[in-house]
Symmetry: D2
Subunit: 386 residues, 4 copies
């Protein structure tokens, strides 16, 4: 154990859980965080096996998050964890986050924040009363060129934003056979996933990205969610028309049945002076197009960039950074937030660029509003929270 | 005058009219058609000047389409035109087409077919009673890789089509200043353009392309048309959610205010076996993606292609063909259709792959249904014709 | 026959000759040139058949270029041709061009100009003594973005040019089987093609493009030509290292056995202030990259461009123009040159941007120098002419 | 300290040394390796400061590699390091590696292996007599799609390899001003860098990549190395023509003055059945093109891939992995090699896919042969080792 490092416990992320391994790499990458405890599985032998594989002290490999929280809380301050990372299926996010906060631990949670909006609102209230920090791994906000786009829009380079088009297309659930994987099965089970599969799993990323980069908030929506592969409980595809606070129009397309698509998250924002385009599968490029001028290809590490983009970059231009580095940026910023909070409890969360409980609440509201809007015969549905 | 060639008159297409010059190049490119007459402008000196610039016999440069039709009809069969190309603003398409057919001339019209659906239906009825041929320049169907995509889908390579996403984004009307051009002003004037600017000018291309390639027909829609630049009579942007006859879902996005976009028409069709993607700005490439396999980049001129694609290609692989060649393919097919009709009046229009009066009617219905759907508070609107 | 048009005869270009059809489309596309005569084949019935297919007067379909030149010369000035287009295999370029000039006709020749440098030099001398114009179809100089690149370099935007890399890769001769086509067989036959296949057919395009855009001349070279497919008389692949007049270094790669390549002609020029990159298969894009700044994607039809690029463009941005339009630009400029020459015999050829006899001589010198350099054991070979 | 982990010391990599940070991330990323000691700087306070910043035990932060090796060797086996990572300027690679081996430590060295070929050969001899393992960080061999390309070629999918084109272009030394950075200054100093800057720094990567993927060895070369920016001791640009063992031809281009290029390493290999193309700046894509068939875009994580590619991939398709992951793959494989060696001293290095001392020797030979070949007037120079 390295006393300089921020100490983390992982809850979930046992054998076969893709996102647990991603969180661990992200936590490890910059050498600021040390994984020291875990409740990787509800089966104690499995949890122990995973912990040992990861080099943890067996005494800190737990079979339940309750035990983990209780026992970690009893450790001396110099040893016990600073935060828990929650990487379980969605239905467990809320009880774990709640319990962690009760024990005084900060929380970094996978998305979507909770099983439903009501939980997210309760979590928000709990956090306001606590001294704990909360972050949500909206990974795509961690890319340098996403931060650059946000910076340029905030600086007015696009003028007034008029239109936002965000697409998140995947093909991995295109066939009924695809449901048998561990990752697919819980996502299609409403009791574990919530009211939506496609909007809850990826649509919420797209909505978050649109709001994060544009600086605007969704105010109304018109949704068309579909269950394309028959027999599923939940949606696997959908399109949502959007209205933003400044009057801008938007289109959000998400699909898990777009056969042949890998992880195609693309954002285009059109202003009255210029537009931007960014695509997750070529993340180190950002197009900026102004009227009557050559398009500019802004690249990670090239030329004059915002501090946010520079800080999120590790290697020189042309050495591609990818998904794991974007993810690590969330972890790194969260570690920096914790350190700052150690010095100054009233630290401003916003300055650390970590997706917050507010983003978490808006994300859950997006999911529920999209589902509600899709069920209605009227076209437009106000975006309501609670 | 070359007696082997199909003879054409142009109506519209005077100085400054972009699309007139395009039609002339398209007609000329394959050496099958000769422009021999024209009513290029309502001002006789202007019409004459343009005709002389084009090397026409001054006697066949007319100041009105009425005169043109009347006088051409009086010429000996071996001299008079076979067809008129209509390249005027929209409100003149119907009266000119009607008059041309009355005089026994075939018609190749720019899109949209007429000012409104009612006219298109009357034109359809008139054509059924006549011995005249009619074609519509839905240019984008002229590209070899569009034809290849259509062929592959018809052959079942995609399996059941589940989702169609078509985007047509331009930025040329992003600013109010852009309205002053000749081309912009009439498109934004309902009396000349019809009930829609954006859907009428480009949305109709997108709808046609989606139906042409997928082989499906739109059955219902949910529309959100916008006038983004204030002060305009008509829409300059819009999104339309679609339902196709086989249950497939669709999204059609069209915009003329997408600043920085040139002429970005992109089509993605997802089936349960594979998907395709085609983009007009790289027209000689067609992506085909099947499950769990490398994506295939099908290229004009490479490997085994459909006869429709091969016939629409003039030069070897890697020698890019573009918009003018796609346009010329419509003209070439129309010339072939006329020749076949000369031999056999009952020729099947469909075999010649020229957008027909049926496509014209569906296009006008699309425009009117999209406008009607957009005005309604209910989400879904049935696609009705007449 | 249209008296406003420039009248052309074609020599070569019979059935199955790909490049003849391309020349005809290029000549036709802008409506400035009329094909009125031809010696398409040495067999009179074939020549006649092709002429009739093209709508020519049978009396002007000849079985030999000698007859064509003689009989056309006897026609009244208002009827007879202005120029001949030579589209035969290489070994006939010189005798035809020579004879045409003797009969007072201008010449537009396919490349390479002649069978060898000696012929090119004699042709140059003959032209200097004549009142005839000569152009060479180095097609790739006809693209708007190639002209834009040249303009930017001439204007100093790249600073001092340091390095030129040009690649021209094709795969169509990758297999011995590929030799059976009409187009392959003569190119691999030294008596018809000259001392080189690959350098003569495509390397010469690459060398011309490098000099045209950079404004520099090759002064020395080190060559490695290869016959990859065994049994061939001539090279089918090669790399040539270059030294330019200003000290800039260069690399020219050409291959006809690069299996999988279509027609990949790519040019990169690096200066001390900026660099450009252009690729023929995406011809409407030109990259301009300056130090410490976003790359700029200059696009045909977008923003402020050189007059040379604008004049070479027919349709708005985003409507791709391709190979045939680039080819047509050579024809159009040649027609304009002829018209100007009709007014003023001392017209400056350079102003019309048509590849000239000087380019022709340099091209033939490039081919012969590359072959000579490849045969030598010493590394560097001076670029000599005659 | 985690007893399951492979323990590493870093030599070099102090403040401002870009590559040191990269090595640390790469070592850390997969959680298999722990950095426990370091001689980061020759100034003991700087070395200590860096070590503390990294959370090391201050007692294991040394001011010289000699002290590090000596003191680590005295630690109990359960504590002392397993290997040293060498990230100093080139001239120190050999003495450090030699000393490390003398102390019984494995070595993972940055490239180029040594200051000159003679040192590399001595190192090879020393290793043969030792029980130590040696690896070289030819990072680009760590990419999954590079491994896939190698696998496909080894399996015969390309048929006989005929031509290899490898380009490595950067612009970061385009200006004399660029020399002032710490990273530039030693690379341009022959006493620290060796006989070449451009070939030693990046050309050697390109040569290694060409041999690694093609499975062929360079047998002869013709080189043209240049010092483009005046006043430099060493080359900053160069082209090398290649002959491979099977008769295949090659071209290797490397440049550090290619203004506007970031880190453009591109490899194209043409066989008689198919060709491949890979580019480091889009590393998760691999083009495979066979004759008369659509090009295939092979993507990390999609479809049926080689075990080598799968093992080198951490996240699902469409979640881009980049340079740091490729680097981490070298570290991970080296850790696996060490573990296997712990079990079985005669372990086959080749099975672990870590660039070996043989690659190191060939790399140094490439650099020296290129420099020698460039200095000669004769064209071809045999590739000799020692």
């Amino acid at each position: 154990m390295d006393n300089n490092k921020i100490r983390m416990a992982m809850i979930g992320g046992g054998e076969g859980a893709f996102i647990g391994a991603v969180h661990r790499i992200a936590a490890r990458l910059d050498g600021q965080i040390e994984l020291v405890a875990g409740a990787f599985s509800a089966q104690s032998n499995k949890s122990l096996a995973m912990g040992q594989q990861l080099g943890l002290n067996p005494a800190r490999c737990y079979a339940s998050y309750q035990t983990l929280l209780q026992q970690e809380a009893e450790l001396p301050e110099s040893e016990r964890i600073h935060f828990v990372a929650i990487v379980t299926p969605n239905h467990l996010h809320f009880p774990i986050a709640t319990a962690a906060i009760e024990h005084g631990f900060h929380v970094l949670s996978d998305k979507p924040a909770t099983l439903n909006l009501s939980e997210a609102l309760r979590l928000q209230t709990q956090l306001q009363k606590s001294n704990c920090l909360y972050g949500l791994t909206h990974t795509y906000t961690g890319y340098p060129m996403v931060k650059e786009a946000r910076h340029r829009i905030a600086n007015g380079e696009l003028g007034k934003v008029r239109k936002v088009v965000v697409e998140y297309s995947q093909g991995w659930l295109a066939s009924a056979d695809d449901e048998n994987s561990k990752q697919a099965s819980w996502r299609l089970d409403a009791s574990k996933s919530g009211v939506s599969c496609c909007m809850g799993d990826i649509g919420v990323h797209a909505a978050n990205l649109a709001e994060y980069v544009s600086g605007l908030e969704i105010e109304a929506l018109c949704a068309d969610l579909n269950t394309v592969v028959s027999g599923r409980q939940l949606d696997d595809d959908g399109t949502v028309l959007l209205r933003f606070g400044n009057g801008a129009k938007g289109v959000l397309m998400a699909s898990q049945i777009a056969l042949g698509e890998e992880n195609n998250l693309t954002l285009k924002i059109y202003g009255d002076k210029a537009s931007i385009e960014w695509s997750q599968m070529e993340p180190n490029s950002l197009w900026l197009r102004a009227a009557n001028a050559p398009a500019q290809l802004i690249r990670t590490g090239v030329g004059s960039l915002s501090q946010a983009a520079i800080s999120a970059t590790r290697v020189p231009a042309g050495h591609p950074e990818g998904y794991l580095e974007a993810f690590a940026n969330i972890y790194l910023n969260f570690a920096n937030l914790i350190r700052a909070h150690q010095q100054q409890p009233n630290v401003q969360h916003e300055e650390f660029d970590v997706p917050s409980i507010n983003a978490a609440v808006r994300g859950m509201a997006f999911i529920e509003n999209a589902v509600a809007a899709s069920a209605k015969d009227t076209k437009w549905h106000p975006f309501t929270i609670g």
